[in-house]
C-alpha cells in the first residue's frame, strides 16, 4: 500500500465550466448504469404500452369505434401519453429508495450543487420515457398504425411528449422526497395520475362525455398534450394545444421545482 494514496494535499482542482451541469450529468450517468445492470427496471415501461394497447384496442375498440383498426388510429396518441404519465411515477419511487439506503447522505456531504441529484434523476428518466414511446410506436406500427403527417412531425410529437414528461416528473420528485415510503409514493402517484389520464381525450372524444366531465377534460393538461400529439401524428390543430401544453409545463416547473428543492433540503 502506498502512502501517496491517502496524503491530503494537493487539493482537488475545480472544474472550470458549469460544475452544476457536470454534476447532474454524472448523477444521471449513475442512474443509467443502474438501469443497464438491472434491465428489469424497464419492464414496466416496456410492457405497459403493449398491454394497454391490446386491452383498449381489442376489448373496447369494437364497441367504441365499430372497428378496432379505426380505434387503434385514434388511440395511439392517447396511449402514448397515458403510459408516459405512468412512467413518470418511477422517479419518485427511485428517489425514495435512494434516500432510504443512505446514498443521498453522501451526495449531501459533497460540495456539489444542491440540485444535482434531482436534476440527474430527471435527466436519466429520459431513458424510461424513450423506451416507453419506442415500444408503443413499434407495436402500433406492427398492428397497422401509420402517421399521416410525415416523420419530422412524428419526431416533434415524441419530443413534445418527452419534454412534458420531464416537467411533470418534478411532481413525483417532490412526492418522492415528501412521502415516507416507496409504496406510498406509488399510492399517491396513481391517485393523481388516474383521473388525469382517464379523464382526458386519451380514450374517447370529449364531446361524448357528460357536461361536467367535459369541463374537466377540456381543461386537463393531459388532454392538451394528447391533442398536440394527435395533431402532429394524424393531422388537426396543433398550435393551440401546443401553447396550452407549454403553459402547463412551465407552470409545473415553476411550482414543483422549488417545492422539490425545499423538500430535498429538509429531508433528513
Amino acid at each position: 500500500m502506498t502512502t501517496a494514496v491517502l496524503t491530503p494535499p494537493p487539493a482537488v482542482p475545480t472544474t472550470p465550466t458549469l460544475p452544476a451541469v457536470q454534476q447532474a450529468l454524472t448523477l444521471a450517468w449513475r442512474n443509467v448504469v443502474k438501469i443497464r445492470k438491472q434491465p428489469e427496471a424497464l419492464m414496466d415501461v416496456s410492457l405497459q404500452p403493449i398491454i394497454f394497447t391490446v386491452l383498449f384496442v381489442f376489448v373496447f375498440g369494437g364497441a367504441i369505434a365499430g372497428d378496432w383498426r379505426d380505434y387503434l388510429t385514434y388511440l395511439v396518441p392517447g396511449i402514448l401519453v397515458q403510459t408516459l404519465m405512468f412512467a413518470t411515477q418511477g422517479i419518485g419511487v427511485a428517489l425514495n429508495n435512494d434516500i432510504a439506503k443512505g446514498v443521498f447522505d453522501r451526495f449531501r456531504s459533497l460540495p456539489i450543487a444542491r440540485s444535482a441529484p434531482l436534476v440527474g434523476a430527471v435527466l436519466s428518466d429520459v431513458v424510461r420515457y424513450v423506451t416507453s414511446m419506442t415500444v408503443l410506436l413499434a407495436f402500433a406500427v406492427a398492428l397497422g398504425f401509420r402517421t399521416t403527417q410525415g416523420l419530422p412531425a412524428a419526431a416533434l410529437a415524441v419530443l413534445v411528449a418527452l419534454a412534458f414528461a420531464m416537467c411533470l416528473s418534478w411532481v413525483f420528485v417532490w412526492i418522492g422526497l415528501t412521502v415516507r415510503s416507496a409504496g406510498a409514493v406509488q399510492g399517491v402517484g396513481f391517485l393523481a395520475t388516474f383521473p388525469l389520464t382517464f379523464g382526458s381525450t386519451a380514450l374517447v372524444q370529449a364531446d361524448t362525455l357528460p357536461g361536467w366531465l367535459q369541463a374537466f377534460t377540456r381543461n386537463n393538461p393531459v388532454t392538451h398534450l394528447i391533442d398536440t400529439v394527435r395533431g402532429l401524428l394524424l393531422g388537426g390543430p396543433v398550435a393551440e394545444p401546443l401553447a396550452w401544453t407549454a403553459g402547463w409545463a412551465a407552470l409545473l416547473l415553476a411550482v414543483f421545482v422549488p417545492l422539490a428543492m425545499r423538500a430535498y433540503r429538509r429531508r433528513v
Partner: protein, 322 residues
C-alpha cells in the same frame, strides 16, 4: 492552517426532534491532526452530532466551525474540507467499486481520466483492486466499509467524520479499518470518530468525549477516563480445577487482593494496568500450572458509563445504558 488552531470547534450545539433533545448543548474541540473519539450508547446523540458537523443537519442552537468555516453560513466550504463515512455503508450497490469512486471524483470536478486514476489508487490502497469491477452489492461487509471509507477520501479531506466505522465488522476487518485510520492521521488528517466500543476509542483516539442523552458527560484521554471508570480485571482459569488453590495464592501474592472465583473455576482480581500479567504467568509456569484462560479485561462500556455517570461531574439522571 496552523497546527494549533482546532479543525473542529463546536459550542452549545442543540437539536430537537419533536420533544426529544437529540443534542443538548454540546461543546467539542478537535485540534488539527488529532483523533477525537465520541463514545456513547445508541441514541446518545453521536450520529446527530456528526450529521450536524458534516452539514447534513442544521442545529437549532449553537455554532460550529469545521476547517475554519461556519457550518451555518458557509456549509459548502465545510463540505469541500470534509469526508463522511456514515453508520451504514452508503455506497451504491449496483455500481462497481471503480464506478462508485469515479462518480465521486467526477462530482468533485476531476476530469474523467484523473477520476479513474484516483479511483484505481484508492482501490489499491484499500486492497480492493481484485474487486474493482464487481458490483459493490457483492462485497463483504468489511470490503463495503473499506469502499465507503475510500469514497470519503476521494477529495483528500482535511477532516474525516467516521460514524461507527466498525460496527458490525468482524475483528479482522475492524483491525484493517483501524490501520487505515492510523495511516490517515499519520499523514495529517484530523478525525472525528464515533463508536460504541471503548477498545476502539482506546486504540485510535487522542481524546475522548462521552455522550449520554445528547450531552457530553465526560471528556479526557483514554487513560484519564479508564482511571475514572475503575480497575481492570485479571482473570485466570487453570486447566485442572485442582490447581485453583495455587492460582488463588499466586494472585493474592502478586496483587495483594483476595481473588473471587466463579462457577467455571475462573479466579478474578482487580488490577491496574497489564504489568502484573507477566509476573502471574511466570509464577504459575514455575509451579507447573497449566492454564486455559489468562487475561486482563478492560472495563466494559457499561462499567465506564456507570462510573462516569455516577461521578459528581456527570448528569445525575440517566436512562438506557445499554
Amino acid at each position: 492552517m496552523t497546527t494549533d488552531s482546532p479543525v473542529i470547534e463546536a459550542t452549545g450545539l442543540g437539536l430537537s426532534y419533536g420533544t426529544t433533545r437529540a443534542l443538548d448543548g454540546v461543546d467539542l474541540t478537535v485540534p488539527a491532526g488529532t483523533v477525537l473519539g465520541v463514545l456513547g450508547p445508541n441514541g446518545a446523540g453521536k450520529t446527530t452530532a456528526v450529521r450536524v458537523l458534516s452539514t447534513l443537519l442544521r442545529p437549532d442552537t449553537g455554532t460550529a466551525r469545521v476547517a475554519g468555516h461556519d457550518i451555518r453560513t458557509d456549509p459548502q466550504a465545510v463540505r469541500r474540507a470534509i469526508g463522511l463515512t456514515g453508520q451504514y455503508a452508503s455506497v451504491d450497490e449496483d455500481l462497481t467499486g471503480t464506478q462508485n469512486l469515479t462518480m465521486i471524483g467526477r462530482l468533485l470536478g476531476l476530469p474523467r481520466a484523473a477520476a479513474r486514476a484516483r479511483a484505481a489508487d484508492l482501490l489499491a490502497g484499500f486492497s480492493l483492486t481484485d474487486a474493482a469491477d464487481r458490483s459493490a452489492g457483492t462485497y463483504s461487509g468489511g470490503m463495503r466499509r473499506r469502499l465507503d471509507l475510500a469514497a470519503s477520501l476521494v477529495g483528500r479531506p482535511q477532516v474525516l467524520f467516521l460514524d461507527e466505522p466498525t460496527t458490525g465488522l468482524d475483528p479482522r476487518s475492524r483491525t484493517e479499518v483501524w490501520d487505515v485510520v492510523r495511516r490517515l492521521v499519520d499523514e495529517g488528517t484530523s478525525v472525528l470518530l464515533t463508536t460504541q466500543y471503548l477498545e476502539e476509542a482506546d486504540e485510535l483516539a487522542d481524546d475522548i468525549v462521552v455522550f449520554d442523552a445528547g450531552r457530553v458527560v465526560a471528556h479526557g484521554t483514554s487513560d484519564e477516563l479508564k482511571h475514572r471508570a475503575g480497575a481492570q480485571t485479571l482473570a485466570v482459569r487453570p486447566r485442572e480445577r485442582s490447581d485453583l488453590p495455587v492460582v488463588l495464592q499466586v494472585l493474592e501474592q502478586v496483587t495483594g487482593a483476595a481473588p473471587a472465583v466463579d462457577g467455571q473455576g475462573t479466579a478474578s482480581v482487580p488490577v491496574r494496568g497489564e504489568a502484573v500479567l507477566g509476573t502471574v504467568l511466570d509464577l504459575l509456569t514455575t509451579r507447573g500450572v497449566g492454564l486455559s484462560e489468562l487475561g486482563v479485561r478492560l472495563p466494559s462500556l457499561d462499567e465506564v458509563f456507570f462510573a462516569l455517570t455516577g461521578s459528581p461531574t456527570a448528569v445525575p439522571e440517566k436512562e438506557a445504558v445499554a
